[in-house]
Amino acid sequence: MSSSQLLKGILEGCLLAVIAERETYGYEMVEKLASYGFTMVSEGSIYPLLLRMKKEGLVTTTSKTLPSGGPKRKYYKLTAEGHAELEDFKGRWAVISTSMDNILKGD
């Protein structure tokens, strides 16, 4: 299994965590993820996911015009539900990562 396939399952959790830090837009999220060491095979994969998260009410968006002109940029912010989902994810992730560590260590 390639690392990008592994990432796919947890991408929503990653995005929730990144957006929780501060209001942000697509390209910035990808850069943030990269700075944490997550390199993605196709960066565009975040957009279908963001669309779903918006429909599920986890994030809200606002369009802002850039001072430099050009098209509007869409910024994402977590809703209360989004924060709750992130906490949920943290809990699930803690369980998985300890279990995974244990398996790999052969405990």
Binding site: Y27, V30, S42, E43, G44, S45, P48
Partner: protein
């Protein structure tokens, strides 16, 4: 702000793909704007389009397709309206000439061919947008798709001559009702699309025919008058459209 040719081509294809999949326009536009912004910033940082959408544009398009909502209005409003509109043209021709016999084959076959054509057309657009085809194959597809509807409609006409199906004959009163209904359909279409052309074209086609019926000249001159009106009208329409195009540029 300019994008590389690859990125622009991908965006164009994605738009066609989503359009041919009846996706909600507002949602598509929002997503396209976001992607364009992303592609632009990525290119500024030396990344190429493959970085953003992965190795397979088709796979990425499918990924997006599942998340963007489908526009239910297409099959509920759009298709019925076009279908009614096309039907109104067919029927007007006969109704004005006071031909009141309709064969079952034509009544069922024509709408059926129409729906098959829409499905084929959208299927073709999706296929062309999602796959990297050579120019030859693309051109072939367009040519085949250009002829297919004509072939099918002609097929119905020919079949109608040889196969006997039950006939539906309507009364003269019904015939007038049909004409009125067709007029309403033309007006409804014009209002829905906010384009007067949906009223002007049938008016140019049918009003002279009706008027000429009450004028006592021979059939040949009638035909010549009608044809010249249609030709003059079509030509002015083309010139008008070309002028608009020039203005846009």
């Amino acid at each position: 702000m300019t994008l590389s040719k690859e990125s622009q081509t991908f965006l164009d294809n994605l738009r066609i793909y989503l359009f041919a999949s009846n996706k909600k326009e507002a949602e598509v536009n929002e997503l396209m704007e976001e992607l364009e912004d992303h592609l632009y910033e990525a290119e500024q940082n030396g990344k190429n389009v493959e970085h953003i959408i992965g190795k397979s544009p088709k796979a990425y398009m499918k990924e997006i397709e599942t998340e963007v909502e489908t526009d239910g209005r297409f099959w509920l409003i759009f298709v019925p309206l076009i279908l009614l509109n096309a039907f109104a043209y067919l029927i007007m021709n006969k109704a004005i000439a006071d031909e009141r016999d309709y064969s079952m084959l034509a009544l069922i076959g024509n709408p059926l061919v129409f729906i098959i054509t829409i499905l084929l057309l959208f299927g073709m657009y999706r296929f062309i947008a999602a796959n990297k085809l050579s120019k030859k194959v693309t051109a072939m597809l367009y040519i085949v798709m250009g002829f297919a509807p004509t072939a099918m409609f002609t097929g119905i006409l020919v079949a109608d001559l040889f196969i006997e199906t039950p006939m539906l004959t309507i009364s003269p009163a019904m015939n007038i009702a049909v004409i009125i209904a067709a007029c309403f359909i033309f007006i409804a279409a014009a209002l829905y699309w906010k384009a007067w052309i949906s009223v002007i074209v049938p008016a140019v086609l049918y009003i002279p025919q009706v008027i000429l019926r009450f004028i006592n000249i021979n059939e040949e001159s009638k035909l010549i008058i009608i044809l010249s009106i249609i030709i003059v009208f079509s030509l002015s329409l083309i010139i008008w459209q070309l002028r608009l195009l020039k203005k846009d540029k």
